[in-house]
Structures are given as structure tokens and as C-alpha cells.
């Protein structure tokens, strides 16, 4: 029996939001709500995979304005896994915070699915602000002072993206997504918005939200999914695979700043934000390098990025809890620490984790480009340094993780997937890359064999090295007859003196003004105004599209 396209797309698109509603309806019965909502979520997830497999098998899947390509259909299930990991963490929050985070995440995911599947610029624009509004609502459900960190940036990202859609609409004269054959103003605006949503713009939008204590930080899993979908749309689909030095340079600067932030991090939240931000910026470096190899690097990078950031959020996000050493069982902390270690290695592109093949390919391509344009060599070195700094900044996180049983075990499963993807990238995605590249009409790579050009490191070489390095560690474990417990709180990578009381000066004045403006909700009001401007722009876009027959 074949499920009709309409049902499949409807379940995939609406399913996540329905799961959230079911969870909310059964709020009083924790295990029943988890099982029921989990079942609905899995149905939606299965539908998303089903859409993917049909497109992978060269079928078409369409219903009204929803007619995804293989690339967009690939982003959805991977983003859903990342969101599912965040949902598990959100369910462990207390009271209103859990409600805000779970409902926000599920509704946002539905919006991301509709946006990704939509072939219409207007359809994409209509669902664009949903994750931002969900993040704002979730932030307000947290305990303590009502703050909405990053909302201004997210609202600005929405506005920029709508402007990008408007430019594309005007230039192509059609509301349907079409290839522009190069990086123009429209796709540049969309890429800027995508970077903010992915969390790659330091101190802005998703970056700030991830660094916050409140439940809004968990919505970043959906925002990253939306950012990756926008990046795929603006990059390979609309702009094609032309290279762009400004984009690559901007991505490298973002990586460097993220690395610096990781080194200066005094809180676990900041460290986590920095490593996710640095990894997010590498996606844009791959797009900026362009060509079929750049596209393939992007295809290698984004699943690992979404999965690894989900694992990091699940296991490493400390939330609003007080940082107390040794509060959780040792085994949970060990398993969680190992999972977070793999996720951090994947985000930093270190072998043998999932992000390694994509990062490798990106740097390999940049080095190859460097033989003609030396600037690329400098960019490669700078990006590598940013990633190294970010992963050094993430080292203290390993000690501070205190996940519950379920997050620790699920995180370990996610880490296992990352290791599998990192060790056998060709087996996991070989055919998929070729089909996506064919679908986008990208120039073929190694057309005589049809195989991807991956670095010449055989699995047996990695295995032999891993076995050789495991022997001394195993010996030490055997001689000591087990492990010792070494849990602790987050202590930043850089030694710091305790800040003394502020005695005036510009910084004191700035802090005072900031606190005053927070009490007056100036930032929140400004953010809401920007979001209102984004919504108004969407309405204008719909009206203009309607005049040209969209409705």
C-alpha cells in the first residue's frame, strides 16, 4: 500500500506540532505524555524519512505548494533528530519552563518542515517568524527575571530573510524558488539570516539565545535546523555553486571570534555556544568556497552539525540548575562526558567524529584553492585556529556535565552515530551526495567512477592508530583497576581573578544603563518592533505575490 503524497507531507509537516499539543494535553501524566507524544513525533519523523526515501528513489512528492527537492527533504529528518534530542532535555525541565520549551520546539519544527518543503518564496516567508516567536514565548516561561535574550537579533534575521525573499521575488518575477545562477543580493541576505539562525554570528540572535540560562536556549535546536534549511536554499539551490571570497572570509572571521569566545568563556553556556558557533561558521566557509567540492563539503557537514549540536545541547546544556559537583551518579557523568566529548570533537572537525570528513574536505579544498589564490591558505589556517580554540574552550565542559540517565544514554547513542558517520562517510552518504548534486545540476566530481573525492585515509589506518593509542590507556586502567570519580564545576580555560566591585567609569555606567533598560523592557520592545516589521514585510510580500497570481 502506498501512502498518498498529500497524507505523507501533511503528517510530516503538522506531526511535530501535534506531538507538542498531545504532550501538553497529557501534562499531568508524565510517562503517558512522553509515550503518546513520542509516538506522534515518531510518526511525523517516519513520514519525513519516507518523503526523503521517495525522493532518493527518483520519485516526486508534492501536494499544493509543498514539493521538496532531495536536499531540502534531507535537512528535515536530520533537524528533527536534533530537535528530538533537545526535546528530551526540555522534558526534564520543571513546570512552565518545560511547557514553554516543548511546545516551542514542536511548533517551531513544524514551521521548519513547512518552510523546507515549500517551493514558494511566499510560503517560506509565511512560516519564517514562527521559531523566533516560539523562542520568545519559551524564554518568558523561565524562572527569574523576564528576559528574551537574542530576540532582537532573531527578529532582525527574520526581517533580513524576508527582504531576501522579496529581492528574489522581484528579480525572478515569480514566487517559485528558482536558481539565480550566482550569489546576488537576495541570496546574500538569506545567507546572512541563515548564519544568524545557525548561531554562527557571534553575540547575535541564536548565539545569544544559546548562551542564556532559560528554556529558550533549547529552541535553538529548531533555529539551527531552520538556519541550515535557509542556507541550503540560498546557497546551492538559488545561488548555485559559485565561490565567494567575501562569504568565506566572513565565515572565517566568525570562526575566529567563536574560538576566542570559547577561550574566554567563564560559563558552560558560553563555551557550548562558542563551539556550536564555530562549527556553524564552517558550513558557510564550505558554501563560500563553492564548486562541487564545496557543495559536497556542505553536504558532509550539515548532518553532523545538526546531530552534534543536538547531542551537545542534550548532555552539556546546564540550564538554570545550580552547578553542584558530584550530584549525579558517576556512570551517568562518564557516559555524558564521553558523548559530549564526541559531539565537541565533531563540531570542531576532529577525527574520527562526524564533522571530521566535511571539515577535512573544506580545508583540503581551501588549500587546493590556495595554490592559485594564497588568501585561501590564510583563511584555512585562521579557520583551523578558530576551531582549535573553540574545542580548547570546550574542554572544561567535559568535567561539568551532569545529565540524567535518559539524556546520558540517548547522548551516547547520538555520539555513536557521529562516530559511525565520521568513520564511514562514503558508506553512509555516497549515493545521496551524487543524487543531490545531480538534482542541483552541479558539475560532476570524478564522473568516471562516480565516487566522492574523500581524503586518502583508509579506515584501517585510523583503526590501527586508535588501537595503538588505546593500549597505554587500557594498561593504565587495568593497573589502577578501574576509574576514579572526578566530577566538578565548569572552570573556564583561562585563569581569571575575581572581578572586584565596580567603582564607576564607563563600564559601570554602561551596566547601569543596561540594567535600567532591561527593567523598562526597552530591548524587548525594540525586538518586538523589529519582528512586527518582519511580519509586515511578509504581509506586503503576500499582497504583491497575490497581484501576480500567487493566490
Amino acid at each position: 500500500m502506498t501512502i498518498p503524497d498529500a497524507s505523507l507531507l501533511q503528517v510530516a509537516a503538522v506531526g511535530p506540532a501535534v506531538a507538542g499539543v498531545v504532550w501538553l494535553g497529557l501534562l499531568r501524566w508524565p510517562w503517558i505524555r512522553r509515550l503518546a507524544a513520542g509516538a506522534v513525533w515518531l510518526a511525523a519523523h517516519a513520514a519525513a524519512w519516507s518523503v526523503f526515501w521517495r525522493l532518493y528513489g527518483a520519485e516526486t512528492v508534492g501536494w499544493r505548494g509543498l514539493e521538496p527537492g532531495l536536499l531540502q527533504a534531507s535537512v528535515v529528518p536530520v533537524a528533527e533528530i536534533g530537535v528530538l534530542l533537545a526535546l528530551i532535555r526540555a522534558d526534564a525541565l520543571r513546570g512552565r519552563a518545560a511547557v514553554g520549551a516543548v511546545v516551542g520546539l514542536t511548533v517551531s519544527m513544524s514551521a521548519v518542515v513547512v518552510g523546507a518543503y515549500s517551493t514558494s518564496l511566499v510560503g517560506q516567508a509565511l512560516f519564517l517568524p514562527v521559531p523566533t516567536l516560539a523562542a520568545a514565548a519559551a524564554s518568558l516561561t523561565g524562572s527569574g527575571w523576564r528576559r528574551m535574550p537574542g530576540l532582537g537579533g532573531l527578529a532582525a534575521a527574520d526581517l533580513v530573510a524576508v527582504l531576501g525573499f522579496a529581492v528574489l521575488f522581484d528579480r525572478s518575477g515569480s514566487s517559485t524558488v528558482t536558481s539565480a545562477g550566482g550569489l546576488g543580493l537576495g541570496s546574500a541576505l538569506l545567507l546572512l539570516s541563515a548564519a544568524a539562525k545557525v548561531g554562527a554570528v557571534p553575540g547575535f540572535a541564536t548565539w545569544r539565545l544559546t548562551a542564556s540560562n532559560g528554556p529558550g536556549a533549547l529552541i535553538t535546536a529548531a533555529l539551527r535546523g531552520q538556519g541550515v534549511a535557509l542556507c541550503a536554499l540560498a546557497g546551492p539551490i538559488v545561488a548555485g555553486v559559485e565561490d565567494s571570497i567575501p562569504l568565506a572570509a566572513a565565515a572565517v572571521v566568525a570562526t575566529m571570534i567563536a574560538g576566542g569566545s570559547g577561550l574566554l568563556a567563564g560559563r558552560a553556556h558560553t563555551s557550548l555556544t562558542a563551539i556550536c558557533g564555530a562549527a556553524g561558521a564552517v558550513l558557510f566557509l564550505a558554501i563560500g568556497l563553492g564548486g562541487s567540492v564545496g557543495l559536497r563539503a556542505f553536504l558532509l557537514l550539515f548532518p553532523a552539525f545538526l546531530l552534534a549540536s543536538g547531542v551537545a545541547l542534550l548532555v552539556g546544556w546546564p540550564g538554570e540548575e545550580e552547578e553542584l559537583a558530584g550530584r549525579r551518579s558517576r556512570i551517568r557523568r562518564w557516559v555524558g562526558g564521553a558523548a559530549l566529548g564526541v559531539a565537541a570533537a565533531s563540531l570542531a572537525g576532529l577525527p574520527p567524529a562526524g564533522g571530521f570528513p566535511g571539515t577535512w574536505l573544506t580545508f583540503d579544498l581551501a588549500t587546493a584553492r590556495g595554490t592559485i589564490e594564497p588568501l585561501y591558505v590564510i583563511l584555512t589556517g585562521a579557520a583551523a585556529l578558530g576551531l582549535v580554540a573553540a574545542v580548547v574552550g570546550a574542554i572544561p565542559l567535559l568535567r561539568a556535565v551532569r545529565p540524567g540517565w535518559i539524556p546520558a544514554l540517548v547522548g551516547a547513542a547520538g555520539a555513536g552515530m557521529l562516530l559511525y558517520v565520521g568513520s564511514l562517510p562514503v558508506r553512509v552518504g555516497g549515493g545521496w551526495w551524487l543524487r543531490v548534486e545531480d538534482g542541483l545540476n552541479a558539475p560532476r566530481l570524478l564522473s568516471f567512477v562516480g565516487a566522492p573525492s574523500l581524503p586518502p585515509v583508509a579506515g584501517k589506518v585510523l583503526l590501527a592508530a586508535a588501537m595503538a593509542s588505546a593500549v597505554p590507556v587500557g594498561l593504565v586502567i587495568l593497573l589502577g583497576r578501574g576509574f576514579r570519580d572526578a566530577g566538578g564545576t565548569f572552570a573556564g580555560p583561562i585563569p581569571r581573578r575575581n572581578p572586584g566591585p565596580s567603582r564607576g567609569g564607563v563600564r559601570h555606567l554602561a551596566r547601569k544603563l543596561l540594567a535600567r533598560s532591561e527593567r523598562l523592557y526597552v530591548g524587548m520592545a525594540a525586538a518586538m518592533l523589529i519582528e512586527l516589521a518582519a511580519v509586515w514585510s511578509i504581509v506586503q510580500l503576500v499582497i504583491r505575490a497575490g497581484r501576480r497570481g500567487f493566490l
Binding site: 566529548g341 570533537a345 577525527p351 588505546a470
Partner: protein, 287 residues
């Protein structure tokens, strides 16, 4: 792979012995054999007192040793030697070592670990630049090509033009100095921080030191692209291994000198190294 790791560990031990020797001769501090005696004390503490390691330390050390093994193997030709691969392996070796050294509840050891991490991050641009100069000098992005160039042209210290040779030697010295600043700190220096943790950090430090000098030796003396099973005993590899041993002595000596400097001066030394690496790059480009 295992042989590459053993060679790297041995060279790392040589570097530590050189550090001890320089400290003894110049600053009259400690015994010449402290690396070995500290290693023995750590093993004793581990076996007799069950001074065990934590999971994070085991994981970090595993990664650190993996990075060191891959870099050492790449340097001698037992693994692919692409420039990004070599750099990533060396970075993994350093990051893993620092992760293994990051856990300590003893104040001075924790402070030392934090300072070493910052030192590593500050010196990394200079190290990456020095490594890049090595590859640029041979117009190659692979150590295999570098070794091939040595086979055809001769030793890297002799092949002209002289400016390029000077640039390469300068870059190698900068790389070794930076290699000394990238290492995880020794744990046995503080009372109560020895045992399994100290042992693993020591192994990470040795493997990274050894891998760094092997990579430096590949730029200066080349090597063999086809390895026999007992390759460390192959006479054709002798020049490269001797160069690596000399490099280990230099790395150890530089580390002793840097250890004698105040911490802030060591950070400045990192930036000075970056400047020298830039000069080396300029020399190679001018040539």
C-alpha cells in the same frame, strides 16, 4: 602505527631528559633523571596506591595519543601526510593532552593546566604558520611530496637557494619552540597529583613532542616513502631519525628556557614566535 607511537614516545622522553639536563646545568634545579624517576613514581602510585584515572582523563589521553600516533606515522610515511591531516593530528594530540591534564582539584596543578591551555591557544597561530612554511618551501601539500623532493634534490638544509634554506631552518626552530609551548603540563611536579593521571599526561606529552620533532625532521631531512616492518633500524632513515633526535634535544632545551620565564613572558614569546614564523615565510617567498 604502534612502532611510530613508540618512536614518538622515545623522542618525547629524550626531549624531557634534555629539559631536565638544561635545568640542571643552567639553573641548577632538579635531577637530570627526573623524567624517568617521576615516571617510575607514577607507576608505583598507580599500582600500589590505586591512584586511578578518571574517564575524562582516559578519553582525553586516548585522543591525545591518537593524534600523536597519526602525526608521527604521517611524518615517517606510515600514514597519509596531507598538510591538513598532519595539522589536525597534531592539534588533536595537543587538545587531547590538555583535556587529560584539565582535571585536578589541587590548586597549583589546576592553575598550571589552565595557563598551559591558554599558552597553547596563543602559540597556535605561530605553530600553524611554521608548519605552513615547511610545506610552502617544498611547494607541496603532502609530506610524501616533501620526502620525494629530498630523494631527488638532497637534504633540506643544503638545497638552495640559501634564503629558502634559512627560512626553512628558522621555521623549523619556531615550530619546535611552539611545540614546547603547546605541550600539556607535567602533573607530577605538585605533591598529590601523581599516579595514573600524571602517567597519561606524561605519555601524551611525550607522544606530541615526538610527533612534532618527527614532522620537523621530515621537512629538514626527508625520509623514505616505502617503509619496511622494522623501519626504525633502516639505515636510509637514519638521517631523519638523527635530525629528529637533535630536534628533541632542542625542543627540550627550549622548554626548559621557557619554563624559567614568567608566564606572561611565555605568552609574549608565543607572539614573538609568530613574528619569526612570518619572517621565515617571507624568506621562503623571497627565495
Amino acid at each position: 602505527m604502534a612502532v611510530a607511537l613508540i618512536v614518538a614516545l622515545f623522542l618525547g622522553l629524550v626531549a624531557d631528559l634534555a629539559t631536565a639536563l638544561v635545568l640542571r646545568v643552567v639553573w641548577h634545579g632538579g635531577s637530570v633523571g627526573w623524567p624517568l624517576s617521576a615516571f617510575g613514581a607514577d607507576v608505583r602510585l598507580l599500582v600500589m596506591n590505586r591512584d586511578r584515572i578518571s574517564v575524562v582523563e582516559a578519553f582525553g589521553a586516548g585522543l591525545g595519543l591518537l593524534g600523536g600516533t597519526l602525526a608521527a606515522a604521517a611524518a615517517v610515511g606510515a600514514a597519509p601526510g596531507n598538510a591538513p591531516f598532519v595539522y589536525l593530528a597534531l592539534a588533536l594530540g595537543a587538545v587531547g593532552g590538555h583535556a587529560a591534564a584539565s582535571l585536578s582539584d589541587i590548586g597549583p596543578a589546576e592553575l598550571r593546566a589552565k595557563r598551559a591551555r591558554l599558552q597553547f591557544a596563543m602559540v597556535e597561530p605561530a605553530f600553524a604558520l611554521a608548519l605552513a612554511v615547511g610545506f610552502i618551501r617544498w611547494r607541496a601539500v603532502d609530506l610524501e611530496a616533501v620526502r620525494g623532493a629530498h630523494d631527488v634534490l638532497g637534504s633540506g638544509m643544503e638545497v638552495g637557494p640559501p634564503l629558502a634554506s634559512i627560512g626553512l631552518i628558522l621555521a623549523t626552530l619556531v615550530g619546535l619552540a611552539c611545540g614546547a609551548l603547546r605541550l600539556a603540563p607535567e602533573r607530577a611536579a605538585e605533591t598529590g597529583t601523581g599516579g595514573g593521571s600524571s602517567l597519561l599526561v606524561t605519555l601524551c606529552r611525550w607522544s606530541l613532542s615526538g610527533a612534532t620533532v618527527l614532522v620537523a625532521a621530515a621537512f629538514l631531512a626527508g625520509g623514505e616513502n616505502t617503509l619496511a616492518a622494522g623501519w626504525p633500524l633502516d639505515p636510509a632513515l637514519l638521517p631523519a631519525l638523527l635530525t629528529a633526535a637533535v630536534g628533541a634535544l632542542i625542543l627540550g632545551g627550549v622548554r626548559a628556557a621557557l619554563d624559567a620565564l614568567p608566564w606572561s613572558m611565555r605568552l609574549l614569546a608565543g607572539w614573538g614566535a609568530a613574528l619569526l614564523a612570518a619572517v621565515a615565510l617571507e624568506l621562503v617567498f623571497l627565495a
